[in-house]
Symmetry: C2
């Protein structure tokens, strides 16, 4: 139940200011005229808001290049990246990437390092993140206002507890609290696939799609869901674990205790097996093999036929359960040959009742490449920041 | 992007009035003091709102029975059922039920009839609904302000098109438009499981649960999802088809074109097979058999062991994908022996990664019995009505 009270003029002004900043942050530079249309406000209100933001150094105005239209061109409003900076961290199984991301979503600087052996211990990772952040912020001369952290595991949003990140061998790591205590800024921890979905929704292939699912394969398989324009978060902030959908009862054992999870059929190890590589082959070797295969579409479908069938079956289930208009395939799946992705998309459209009803779900590779989770982590951090600047 | 404008005092008053009415409609009679707390408004504002609603005949005030507290008791505010009435229709495979439902959710009158042969044709069903509604409304001396229709199929919310209702053998039936044209009131058509989930969320076992899944078995198996307090609707308003999750690849063929759908393993026919009954046994015979079985818990688990395993597997997937705090089992599933439901719940908790993370998902039978979809249909109709009365 939401309580209600009369909106005071200063509250309305603040709300409009945040909305305008969010539009610029996600949509990029826009003219005053476009902002007026987008926000449904008149031009004098927009002028006052933009003037206020320019005075605070949050935006800059420029005369756009002359176009074909007649009359005086509307001034172009640009977000100022340095005016609000957040820290984004992407903890993966093999490495950690950090970045400082400015207003508008621009990566201002980045750093990354590999993980192996004891450097994967939570203590070591946390120390390394703090040290690298201090160096990077010092080099750039900025101070992050909040941090977003992507972790491949089951995460509680309220306090950033990493409940279980099996491929990292982490359990009950109070990551959010520990980073927050040192950084002294809000720290938001999210499941990697959830953040991937957010990034694709705001800046990638799922832009403008109100209902989309992001499915990514790394060592594990994860999924994030955008429903009616918002991230689905599950009870207590635990996002769903799409990779642990049982799809082949009695199949290969999974660490989660079940047999025949989707992850065991379409994760990195499964892809290695399908290609005749050792299950612990390096990511590089796997990608090289996939690129070779892409040159021979017929061979690709033949060698990866069974893999493609399991990928299809899982996607049919996802589509029948969630009814998205678009499925975005991320991470390792972006290295799959185009022919194979096309075949899978066609199969999902034919074999899903819901796809037939909505007139055909789209299945597309991620548009954001390796930065997708870093960008998603930045966006959860920006959520709070844009409300307060 | 939502546009914004300054809220005018009369808009605020209207918003508060609707909110108050909705609280009474869903929560039942409340004292003025409780309303003030619930809405976060002061008592004089509540008094003005209640006075206005009483004058319009929407609510009535009564002195509550004397309690233990000292001082003058706060007046009890009761919604007046006759003040706003909607039509609710539940189209099932075997029969149709209609009801007129008053403000507060009370069923004021009802009617139902069986379907077989040509009486299941859309034309016949629509004619029968219209005739029965006229008779019922005449008898009760009320006029419905909107209608909600529950259909076991894939439904487009925007215009009430029934895209595919395979067990009714309906496809592309413009049900909403056709009923609306005659009734001349807004007609909202929803998928039966979606409406079941809504009813359980507002008035049943999932009350107060922000993230819940309702799974029901009739001839088919359907599911509805409440996420962060709202119904999940999928792209273009098509809700997901949980029953067509493939759970046993290579299994029994399903009319949707796949093999081994969850519906083919745990739907009504599967339950008949598990009990050694003919697949087309009557619902009555099936329920009698289940009641007998309930008296011998050990035999129940033995005879329905494989059925319970498929029910478990599907629920593990649903929980891992959607991360609900509660799964409500509806329709035919409410007839399952308690021992079996308890066993399934325990298995789901042990075997779902997400359940282990959230500290144990609950699996419970529906609390609303056979009226659940009728009540859900009434609620979608009330959504618009409460905004305008």
């Amino acid at each position: 139940m939401t309580s209600t009270s009369v909106a005071r003029p200063d509250e309305v002004r603040r709300y409009n200011r945040t909305t305008l900043l969010r539009v610029l942050h996600v949509g990029g530079p826009l003219t005053r005229a476009a902002l007026a249309t987008e926000l449904g406000l008149n031009r004098s209100t927009i002028k006052a808001l933009v003037d206020g933001l320019a005075e605070a150094g949050m935006v800059e105005e420029r005369v756009p290049r002359p176009g074909r239209g007649a009359g005086r061109p509307s001034l172009l409003v640009l977000p100022q990246p340095q005016a609000a900076v957040v820290l984004a961290v992407d903890v993966q199984v093999e490495h950690v990437a950090i970045a400082l991301v400015g207003l508008g979503g621009q990566i201002l600087g980045r750093n990354s390092w590999n993980l192996h052996g004891r450097t994967r211990e939570p203590d070591e990772v946390i120390t390394h993140i703090l040290e690298s952040t201090a160096v990077l912020a010092g080099d750039l001369g900025v101070r992050p206002m909040a941090a977003g952290i992507s972790v491949p595991g089951v995460v509680r949003r309220s306090d950033g507890l990493v409940r279980e990140a099996p491929n990292l061998r982490w359990s009950d790591v109070t990551l959010g609290d520990r980073l927050g205590a040192v950084l002294r800024i809000p720290v938001l921890v999210g499941n990697d696939a959830e953040l991937g979905a957010l990034a694709e929704h705001l800046r990638g292939a799922a832009r403008g799609a109100a209902d989309a699912v992001y499915v990514s394969a790394d060592v594990g398989v994860g999924g994030g869901v955008v429903a009616q324009g918002s991230s689905l978060r599950g009870a207590a902030g635990y996002v769903g674990e799409i990779g642990h959908m049982v799809i082949r009862p009695g199949g290969r054992g999974c660490y989660c205790g079940n047999q025949g999870c989707w992850e065991t059929e379409v994760g990195e190890a499964a892809l290695c097996r399908a290609l005749g590589l050792a299950e612990d082959s390096s990511r590089g070797a796997l990608v090289v093999e996939l690129r070779k295969l892409a040159e021979d579409p017929t061979a690709a479908l033949e060698r990866l036929g069974e893999f493609a069938e399991w990928l299809t079956l899982g996607l049919v289930n996802v589509v029948n359960l969630l009814g998205p208009e678009l499925v975005v395939l991320g991470d390792l799946f972006t290295a799959l040959p185009d022919t194979l992705v096309d075949w899978v998309g066609e199969q999902v459209r034919q074999r899903s009742l819901v796809s037939r009803a909505v007139g055909g779900v789209r299945v597309e590779p991620s548009a954001l490449g390796v930065d997708v989770k870093l960008l998603g982590a930045a966006e959860v951090a920006f959520e709070g920041v844009l409300d307060t600047v």
